[in-house]
Amino acid sequence: MSEARGLKSWLTTTDHKRIGLLYFWTAFIFFLIGGVEALLIRAQLAQPNGHVVSAETYNQLFTMHGTTMVFLALMPLSASFFNYIVPLQIGARDVAFPRLNAFSYWVFLSGGLLLNASWVTGPLFHAGMLNVAPDGGWFGYANLTERQFSPGPNIDFWLLGLQVLGISSLAAGFNFIVTILNLRAPGMKMMRLPVFTWMTLVTQFLVITAFPVITVGLVFLMFDRFFGTHFYVHEAGATPLLWQHLFWLFGHPEVYILILPAMGIVSDVLPTFSRKPLFGYPVVVYSGILIGFMGWGVWSHHMFSVGLGPIADSVFAATTMLIAVPTGVKIFNWIATLWGGAIRGTTALHFAVGFIAMFVIGGLSGVTHASPPADLQQTDTYYVVAHIHYVLFGGTIFGLFAGIYYWWPKMTGRLLSERLGKWHFWLQFVGMNLAFFPMHFIGLLGMPRRIYTYGPDLGVSTLNLVSTVGAFLIAVSILVLVYNFVRTRRRGQRAPNDPWGGATLEWSIPSPPPVYNFSVIPTVANRLPRWRTEHHGPMTDPPAVPPAPIHVPGGSWWPVVAALGLPVMALAPLTHTLWVAFLGAAVLLFGIYRWAFEPFEV
């Protein structure tokens, strides 16, 4: 198979592997942007009464940091592995709807660009640069985000950007559910799926159920801001609390959307490098499903300070604490997987173990604010900032980075330097603990979150300085990672099919895989097809040369065209120009029409 090259081949690609790479690099760049925002925040807070940025800029920075990391970095980094790895793990040649997959990516890119365009487009709205970026927090609480209190285009960028991104997530969600349910190779029963694929499936069900909720919330807010409705206006008989219920009804499942893929990665990495099957596979899978379900019953624990009453508080406290049970089960199963193994200390394993070690801290601090009276002191303080970063940085990021070191050879054909990888890991590990551990104390000592300045009298100046040093240490570790990427591209060792001795199907084919993935679709006989166990021998890998020609669909322009219609539509409310909405809709419909009638054969 000849690989097409050039810009056109990337714009029109429907190959899940290329789309996976597009997701990866786009998300990684957004991750760097979100990181720079974090550094500015930490620079401002390094000392009391800081003057690095203004109050207005600070509010935009923390809003965009949260929004960027959640929607533009962590979710799409997971998506890059869904795209690249899931079809390989189930023995498929692509996802179920390759063009819809391309559409998801282009919509994600345009949503991300739309959000970040707010940094530089101030002059178009008769404001300075760095003046119209979203500034209502990633949680965008009404009624602060109503036009009355936020008259500028800032919140408009946010609510339009998120709506566009939601479409991308929904399309991808349905695509991967169908892919995992329908495109499994013969013999790949559900209970033989690699755990990463399982957690992907659970995550996608959360996506398709949670994103409609935030979409409803955002549409209400958009109607309030543009058409004078009063969904969140108490003077009109409504209540701003409606937004909080809608947002957290989405927001808590969203936390599991962020963490479950990382849990899946860890569940695949640990067995490979301890040379031992995952301990209690069914329990790990069921607990993942259970976490997905239970994630729907806990949203009000974000709202204990609202004063929902003792009954509601007690119920949500109980449901929240219950989630600790399936989570704890997973952690014990991971440790049991390591126990008795032959552990090889690769960088991927370092990050997977780092995930367990750090996620435990985030989980335990989570239990302290599952208790409403204790939470009343902790909520909206730096204690919660510490908690979410132990979960989303110590958890999700460590898990995703384990995935990067684990699957990089498969995705690029070259092995990342293990020596640099260890440097990266230890710098990041020390950096994150320096940055986030002091935040527990900062919060308990009374510093609220989302404040651009604090006084020296609070007694938290030294702790804040330590935290800032840690944040910059994390930045250094990320630079090591970037250097590793660059160096590997030129000088990295070539990867064989299976550099790690992995048990799952993706290691049975070349690195990177050919366009068609599998020269022959494998037949799967058990959960660890490539390993010898007491019950079975390893499978035979597919031959290097396909025994018969393989049809591979060509590219298509229509996903990218259709996707382009959405940001154009979003420009209409931003610029208060009606005809732009019709233009965008026309582009979208034209793209979909041509897409629908595209000849099957290319």
């Binding site: 509010n59 209502g136 927090g137 009624n143 602060l144 209190f149 936020s150 108490h234 003077e235 701003p240 031992k276 301990f279 209690g280 596979y281 300070s305 609202v306 004063g307 508080d313 007690s314 406290a317 604490m321 600790a324 049970v325 089960v329 440790i335 049991a336 390591l338 126990w339 008795g340 193994g341 552990i343 435990v360 335990l364 208790s371 409403p372 009276p373 204790a374 009343l376 002191q377 909206d380 303080t381 603990n433 104390f441 308990l444 000592l445 009374g446 510093m447 609220p448 979150r449 404040i451 300045t453 609070l458 007694g459 938290v460 030294t462 702790l463 330590v466 390993w531 166990t533 007491e534």
Partner: protein, 332 residues
């Protein structure tokens, strides 16, 4: 492990090195409410610490003991162990019972209505300051809440604009101030003193500058304070700078937003009838002295971004400002 060293280091920093006395520390409670939450938190903390030690210890032992070494036999391909898995499902569940029971008990203990003799105060959040109304005393003040020692205090909290959150860490957990809702907290302070707090819910550009103070006074001290607050404003002596200041106040935009009993009825900004008795201005941001008052009157937004008290057009002369400062300081 560097992590544990780090933990100890940070703990040491918090306990000794960085200044104290931690005026907003949740770990130094000074009311029944704050003590109840602190006891609960400490209880949960030790459970969490125990789980932390067990899990991390198991992890480290596994990593050290089961490193791959050449020549070792291949590991046994264990797939699971039902009994063990049941055990480590039940263990966290059992621990959670020990967390959940005191939790629910504390929820109901701290949710009760205050006794009938409680000092009742309506708290109204504004962008970016606090209004306090003592309904029974018929008294209105701002940013500095006075309460007597030993009596229960019942706060009824709401907002005039966006959502805020009322929080004095050493006296009790926070409650949101939500437009259209009234939320309540009750606590009984158990030590005299000045306590600081601040808004905890992001409420716009000067969220960081929405602070407040609570003065817990003796019963008699509180009584004296209330008597002063209930009296009309002090009338400046004829011929003084303060009297000229009153004239400046009466002809300037000040009257549109501020109340001074008998002088102006504005309700958008804080009530200034006894502003001279407060220790701070601008919602707890600056000391209430003539220098800061002058800067505040001249250009509030430069001291507090987004402040609704904009620069006056045309600007007041320095002489007018000096007179205004004298007048405001005389309002004891």
């Amino acid at each position: 492990m560097p992590r544990i060293r780090l933990w100890l280091l940070t703990a040491a920093l918090a306990i000794s090195g960085c200044g104290g006395p931690f005026p907003q520390s949740t770990l130094h409670p000074r009311s029944d409410f704050a003590r109840a939450t602190d006891v609960l938190f400490t209880n949960i903390f030790w459970w969490a610490a125990a789980v932390f030690v067990v899990v991390e210890l198991l992890l480290v032992v596994a990593l050290v003991r089961f490193r791959h070494r050449e020549g070792r036999p291949a590991p046994r391909p264990t797939h699971g162990h039902t009994l063990m898995e049941i055990a480590w499902t039940l263990a966290p569940a059992a621990i959670l019972v020990f967390v959940a029971v005191p939790t629910v008990r504390t929820i109901f203990a701290t949710a009760g209505e205050a006794p009938a003799d409680a000092v009742k105060v309506d708290v109204i959040g504004h962008q970016w300051w606090w209004e306090f109304r003592y309904q029974e005393l018929g008294l209105v003040t701002a940013n500095e809440l006075h309460v007597p020692l030993g009596r229960a205090v019942q706060l009824s909290i709401t907002s005039a604009d966006v959502i805020h959150s009322f929080w004095i860490p050493r006296l009790g957990g926070k409650r949101d101030a939500i437009p259209g809702h009234v939320t309540r907290i009750a606590f009984r302070p158990d030590q005299l003193g000045d306590y600081t707090g601040q808004c905890a819910e992001f409420c716009g550009v000067s969220h960081a500058n929405m602070r407040l103070r609570v003065v817990v006074d003796s019963d008699s001290g509180f009584g004296r304070w209330a008597t002063v607050q209930l009296a009309g404003p002090a009338a400046p002596a004829p011929g003084t700078l303060a009297e000229r200041g009153k004239a400046v106040y009466a002809r300037s935009a000040c009257i549109g937003c501020h109340t001074i009993q008998g002088v102006s009825p504005g309700v958008i900004g804080p009530n200034l009838t006894h502003v001279g008795t407060r220790t701070t201005i601008a919602s707890g941001l600056f000391p209430n002295d003539s220098a800061y008052l002058a800067r505040w009157i001249a250009d509030a937004p430069s001291l507090k971004p987004g402040s609704l008290m904009t620069r006056m057009q045309p600007p007041l002369t320095d002489a007018d400002i000096a007179a205004l400062v004298a007048y405001l300081e005389s309002l004891k």
